[in-house]
Each structure stands twice: as C-alpha cells, then as structure tokens.
Amino acid sequence: MEKLIFDKSVHNRKGYSLPKSEVDININDIIDKKFLRKEELKFPEVSELDVMRHFIALSHLNHFIEKGFYPLGSCTMKYNPKLHESIVSSQLFSDIHPHQTLDTVQGILEIMYELQNDLTEISGMAQTTLQPVAGAHGEFTGLKIIKAYHKAKGNHHKNVIIFPDSAHGTNPASVTLAGMKVVEISSDEKGMVDLEALKKVVCENTAGFMLTNPNTLGLFETQIEEISKIIHSVDGLMYMDGANMNALLGLVKPGHIGFDVMHYNLHKTLSTPHGGGGPGSGAVSVREDLVKFLPYPLVDFNTAPLCKGDLGEDEDCAGYFFLNSDHKDTSIGKIHSFHGNFAINVRAWIYIKTLGGKGLREVSENAIINANYIRKKLENVYLVPHNHTYCMHEFVASGNRQKEKGIKTLDIAKRLLDKGVHAPTIYFPLIVPEAIMIEPTETESKQTLDDFINAMLEINEECNTNPDLVLNAPSNTPVKRVDDVKAVKDLNVRHIL
C-alpha cells in the first residue's frame, strides 16, 4: 500500500505560494488570545510534487469506468462524456457566487430553467426541483411533499408509506427521516408487487406507495395501473424511485402510468459521474397539484423587460430568468443551502441537449438489449430466478448453484475483480438469495459484454476445477481480500497527527 501523506511530511517543506500581507495588522491585536488555537495545526508539510505523486499513486489503486467494465446493478455506471467535464470546468461556471445579482447569472439560470423543463418532459409531470443533491435527498424531498399534501388537506392520520421488500435501503430510511411509518409487503413469486398483499395493508392511513419501476429485479411492474388505482382510491400518492430510469427514457413517462412524484438520479440515468461516491444529483418531479409544495425557489422566466425601458432595444429586454419563491408559504422549505449541485446539473443538461428525444430513447433501447443479451448467455450456467419475461436494463441472477459447491456470490464477485471487471451489485435485492445484479448500460459494446460473459463462464468452470482460486480471490488486485470484520472490531478511523 501507498504510505500515508502524513508519513511523507518534512518540517518546513512547502507546497503552496501565497502573497505577503499588505496590511499592517497583528492578529494578536485584533483577536483575544482566548479565541486563538492553543495547539498549532499538525497538517503535513509536503511539496507540490509530493502531493501529485501521492494522489496519482492512489489513483492507480482504483477501478474506474475508463479502466474497465462496471456491471453494477441499480447504479447505471455508464460512460461519462469528457465533453461535459471540459465544458463545466470553465471559470464562467466555477467562479460564480450564489449571492451574485440575477443579471450576472442569466446564462446559469437559463440552463437550470431548461433542465427543469426537460426533466419535467421526460417524467411526464408538471414541474421539477433541482435542489436535491442525491437520490436519497430526492426521496426525502418527495416524501416531505407527500406529507405536505396530506397535511394541507387536514389528513394528519395519513402517515404510512408502503413499499415492496425489493426496495432500496434508502426508501425505508427516507420514510423514517420524513417522519412517517414504513409498511413492507412481500413480492409475489414472479418478483412483482403482490396485489393481494397490497390490498391487505392499504387503508385510511396510507400516505403513499414507493416503487422502483422497473423494479430492482429489472422487471417492469406491468400491474402498475392497478397498483396506482388501489393507492389513489384512498387518496395515497404514488412515488417512483427513479434509480432505474435508464430503462424508461422516451419509452414510458412515469407521470403517465400513475406516478405522482419521482426522483431522478442524474448520476445514473443522465451520465453525470459518480465521483467515488458523489456528488450526484436527485432532481424531483411532481404532478400539477404538488408543485406548490416543492422546495423554493424554482427558476422561472419573466417575459417583462429586464428593466423598465432604459435598455432600449437591447436583446435582454426580451425577458429574464429569476428565482421564484412565490410558493414559499406552501413549500416544504429548503433542503439545501442554495440550488443543489449546479455543476452536476449542467452535465445532465448537456447530455439531454446532445442526445435529444430520439437519442434518449436509443439509450434505453440499447440498455435493455444489452441486459437481455447477457442474461440469455448466462442463464444456462447461473440461476436466473425471475425469467418468465424479458428483463429491462438489468437483471438479477443467483449464485445458488455455485453455492452448492461451496462458493458464495461474494467469492464470484471477488474473482471478477481479478479479471479486470468491477463486481456486480451483490446480495441485493434481498429477496433473491446469493443475488448477482447485473446492469451493463447502453455505452458498453457487444465485445465488452462478450468478455464479461466469458469471465463469468470461466469463473463457473473454476468453481469445479480450481475452487480455491475463487475462494481466495482476488489475487492480482492492489490488496488481497480485505478484512471488514477487523475494520469494525479494531476501529481505526484516523491517523493521529
């Protein structure tokens, strides 16, 4: 392993340059000694080259999209176009302060306005907020909107959110944070929402239903109309977790199939990068009567001239973009200091502008073809429990057959790392034992998929011929299998400087 940066520190070495102070003021004269730090900061003292070498050495220890395939189910690890990164790095984006006057940020607001509209169009809803910075942040926002809807009607008793047992862990966690109660229902034998189970739990207290569609098995919930009828019959609202939106672009609009609120994961569907865990973006779209509950402000356009008359024939007089907080009194409030992850949202906007309606539809079509192709090629060797219908953009296999030979899904996943492929999502959804959740995305070629399929088939062979190789995997990664138990037992979360 690479040494810690702290172990490279040398007294008085320096990696920065700053101007000398031009003002004749002594800190001790302006701030009471009582408020000054007692022990000086023990930060490392390293040169710029030390820092460059250190972090580049660390970068070499990572798997990343440009290095190899990332078939992570539910995460949509598609290629992140370099064009986006290049455009966003402009100083005219980066060096804009959120408290600048509106006339200096018209270009920024125009982008936000268009993105609001485009996401609204894709969702088939009425309006979109760009404030949530992550999927779970979006869920929290959407659930608060559902709560506000019921509260506005005086229905304070409606505080139960129902979701299937295949749901992402963030769903129940967000319900708790929003101050509502969770009721989980089992999926039926086909992996779909069990309508009978749903009917049993739906009641006066039902605030809403949270569903990922396609669900986390990668299957489209074909009974969606019946589900939404049941939920709407008690004035509950339908929430769509948009994690799997990469299957629906231009094919199905969530707002047209019964959903009232949804969040996007722009870092999945709209190709913004994952950043090693973030920043993402979790825009939320809602139907017409819920717009008044959205976080404020929304970006809006005023057709009136920028200022009364004194700009003459200036083109700015065509109107201007502004931050509209007219709905502040009904809004759920603010969930971010400013306007969400603007720089991430710009990337999503570029993506939509460069693909257009037809391009987005092709994204989903190719994502679906790619997933079905892998499934077909693997289903004779790996168990695919829910194969009564074609899958959408991902599918869930099970390592149960291999487990009979003493090899767990975890071992298979770790062996894939040896073959230059990131492991699929494993042990999720919870309803499939030894789950292996595979999502190829549309940006991968048939050749990459074939390589992956071969790797999976080889591993299955190795389970018979050389099981120790799989059980002890990985063997050619920067470190061998990492001891997670020790990480908890002998908790060490910082180097003491």
Binding site: F93, D95, Q100, I122, F322, A343, I369
Partner: protein
C-alpha cells in the same frame, strides 16, 4: 451523440441470440397504452461543436468573480484554490469511480477518505469524522438528529446567529421526526446566554452554535460551554454541544475540543472547492468517539487484507441504510465525495503553515477593510465584537441601493441581511461583507473609494422606478 457503441449489426446479432426479431418484442409485456407513441419533446440534438457554441453564448451572459471585485460570502467563499487540486480531482480514476464498496479495487478512494478523516479530526480536535455530508446546512441538521439519537431527547436550541438558511434546512430536516427547534435570540451580534439558560429544560438534547457566526463574529464558546454545564447541573444528562465552524478559521481559532464541543460540522467548500453557483458544496462532520455509532454517513477504517497488509474499507456499516433500512442513522447514501477529495488535496498542499496563512491573510484583510469602511461617514460596524473574515456594516443608505450602485462599477459589495431589532418593529438592514486572502490592498481601497462615491453621488438616494434585477435578488 449518444455514446452508444453497438452498431445495427451488433444489435441484430444480439437480438437473434436473445431470440426476438425486434427490440419491441423485449418490452411486449408493457401494456401498449403505457408506451409513448412519439419521441420526447426536447430540442433537436446538438453536435459537440454546436453545444460548445450554445454554452459559450449562454456563458457570455454571466459575469464571474474574476471580472468583478467581489465581497460576497454568507456561506460560500472565494478562497484561493491551487491549480494542482484541479489536476488531481479531474482524473478519471477519481471522477468516474463508484462508491468504494469493493475495497480491493477502491483502495485509492478509501485511502484518501481515511486521510481526509484524519485531517478533519486534526482541524476540529475531534476523534472521528465521517466521509462527508451534502452541505454545511444538512450536516448541521443531521448533527441535531444524531444528538437526539444519542440522548433520546427532543429539543434542540439553535442560536439565531446561525446562517438563516441553515435554520431553514434544520427545520425541514427535523420537522418530521418530532424534534422541536427553539431559537436562542441574539444579543449584540452574539448568542444571548441568558435566553439560552431560560430556554433549556429536561428535554434539551443539544445546543447549536455557529462560530464565527453569520455576522462573522467569534462566539464565546467557552462561556457557552460553561452555560451548558450550569444548566445541566442536577440533571441526568448534559445537552450535547454542536458547533458549526468555518474550516479555514480553525487554522487560527480554537479547535472546538478546546471548548468541549461534542459534534462539529460545517461547510467545507472553502477548502479547495470553487463556488459553482452554490453547488456542489460539502458538509464535514466530526465528533467525540462515544458518538461514533450514532453518526450518519460513510466512514472509512484502516484494517488489513488476509495477508496482513495494510488496507482500508468502509466500516461501521451497520449504521447505514443499506443494512439497517428504516432504523439507519440516516438515509444518506451518495455524498459529495469528489469535493471532499478536493479538500483533502488542498489541506495537504497548504499544510500546517499554508492554512494558517490563508486564515491570517483573510482576517487581516477583513479588519483593514472594516476599518477603512467605518472611516467613511455614515458607515459603522453593526456589532463591536471580535470578527474573523466577514463583518456586518450599518450603512447610511439601504444596503440594496449600495449593492446596486456598486454593481454598475463591477463590484459585488456584499449581501443585504436583516437583523431583528429588539426595540423596533421593523428589522435593520445590514451589509454583510466577506474578505479572503485573494483581495489585494488595491482591491479593497478601490472598493472603499467606490463606497465613498456612492454616498456623495446625489442620485444614489433616488429610489425611482429602477427596480432592476439587482434588487430583486433574494438572499435565501
């Protein structure tokens, strides 16, 4: 351009192997009436050349900080970012990597997070840091939830001297789970300790103080800690002390452990991240070790691999949503990792002396500017209290008029803020000015001269029909 690799031939081969004729056969299970008939109504797709043209024509409508002499702060600051930060943070090895769940191929990300946590602990004097939160405001809200999980009490006392948007986000976060937020009034620019005493009772879970506070003033956290100790005498539990700190300030001001803070949070943007119109930002969060099980978010721990080599992995995951679901310490999953990486690289580059120099330069500049501005007739400091890099000014004309007039001369004069006054019905309007190490003496002198001119120019008092965009701007 759709970045799709497969050709028509590839697709046909794949469809043949799947055993269908056409793509539509794959979605035949979806009821026909649910499927879109037409393409989405979006603009026609642009090529790389065209989108660049479009973007740069849009951007020409913006004015960036470099083109203006800006004194804007209020939560986001224009501190210096060394270019080496960009060269590391823009590497695809970091940009396009996934969350480091597969530790064996994510040691790069895991190690920098471990280093980040170590640096944040050193900066705050705390014993454990998580890998980061969405922003300073949500970190403050999560700290309150964390305190409540620890002591099972339901009242949070939040100082009125917090950034007002933090209070709004705190309310949005805590409203659902039944935590009552009580605001401790301000007195002369700082938290009113008497009111803090009056508001506290057996249910008080935590006290939340921002220092330097929204007005730039250094709160006396030693007195506040003493006050918390006093109010909890003869009570079962001492409320937890949560502080919100400017990370740059901690290079010269007290580490929060000096005044016994239990949880320390703040906005991390100032550490190596650019303003980007307010996002992405990132929140940092650190605490004493006994709160580790209640902490939200990801945490990286050092461990070994099976051969005994040093390695890192995500730890204490039993707190998190993917394991604990509705009983998790938070719903947070994705955070702002790449911003935390920028902060890590920044802290390493600046090192022990650089961060202190940044803090000192900013403070000295702020005090110089404050002195020069208050030399102008009609301008006074709103509060005569020690401040760091930001200060509030009482102005002879409404701040928004000053902001507007100076805007015409390419200055961002600051932010107009409102302060409730005890003896008056309406609130006072103040001008909040932030100064960083990037300001030269000439920048500040020019600003002072421009302010002087505004006051002497007769029409600056004239509130005619020019309700332009500049004044329509909202603070929060």
């Amino acid at each position: 351009m759709s970045y799709i690799a497969n050709t028509d031939k590839d697709r046909q081969e794949m469809l043949d192997i799947i055993g269908v004729k056409h793509f539509n056969d794959l979605i035949a299970n979806i009821p026909e009436k649910l499927l879109l008939k037409d393409f989405l109504k979006l603009d026609k797709p642009l090529s790389e050349i065209e989108i660049k043209k479009r973007v740069f024509s849009l951007l020409s409508k913006n004015k960036c900080l470099n083109k203006q002499n800006s004194f804007l702060g209020g939560g986001v600051y224009d501190h210096f970012v060394p270019v080496a930060v960009d060269h590391i943070v823009n590497r695809p090895e970091f940009v396009t990597a996934y969350t480091p769940y597969q530790a064996e191929v994510s040691q790069g990300t895991l190690q920098w997070i471990y280093e980040y946590q170590s640096l944040i602990c050193e900066l705050t004097g705390m014993e454990i840091s998580n890998a980061g939160m969405y922003d300073g405001a949500s970190a403050a809200a999560e700290a309150i939830l964390m305190a409540s999980r620890k002591n099972r009490l339901t009242k949070a006392l939040v100082s009125e001297t917090l950034n007002p948007v933090y209070i709004e986000v705190i309310k949005a976060y805590t409203e659902g789970v039944g935590i009552e937020i009580l605001t401790i009034p301000m007195k002369a620019g700082v938290t009113d300790l008497e009111k803090l005493r009056d508001l506290s009772d057996d249910k008080t879970s935590c006290v939340v103080i921002q220092t330097p506070n929204f007005y730039g003033i250094i709160e006396d956290c030693f007195q506040i800690d003493e006050c918390i100790t006093n109010i909890s005498e003869n009570k079962k539990q001492k409320p937890l002390f949560i502080t919100i700190n400017d990370p740059i300030s901690l290079a010269i001001l007290n580490a929060p452990n000096e005044y016994n803070a239990d949880i320390v949070v703040g906005e991390g943007q100032a550490l190596g991240n650019r303003p980007y119109y307010g996002g992405p930002l990132f929140g940092f969060m650190a605490s004493k070790m006994d709160l580790s099980r209640n902490m939200p978010g990801r945490i990286v721990g050092a461990t070994t691999d099976i051969e005994g080599n040093r390695a890192y992995s995500l730890t204490l995951q039993a707190r998190e949503q993917h394991i604990r679901r509705d009983k998790a310490t938070s719903n947070i999953c994705s955070n702002q990792a790449l911003c935390n990486l920028a902060a890590t690289v920044y802290m390493c580059l600046m090192g022990k002396n650089g961060l202190r120099e940044v803090a000192e330069l900013s403070t000295k500049n702020a005090h110089y500017l404050a002195k020069e501005i208050t030399n102008i007739k009609g301008f006074t400091l709103a509060f005569e209290k020690p401040f760091f890099k930001e200060f509030a000014i009482k102005t002879p004309t409404e701040p928004k008029i000053i902001i507007e007039e100076l805007h015409k001369k390419e200055f961002c004069a600051g932010i107009e803020i409102s302060v409730k006054s005890n003896d008056k019905a309406e609130s006072d309007k103040l001008l909040l000015i932030a100064v960083t190490e990037k300001k030269t003496k000439a920048d500040m002198d020019n600003f002072v001269n421009a302010l002087k001119n505004v006051i002497t120019t007769p029409n600056s008092q004239n509130k005619d029909s020019k309700e332009t965009l500049n004044v329509k701007k909202e603070i929060n």
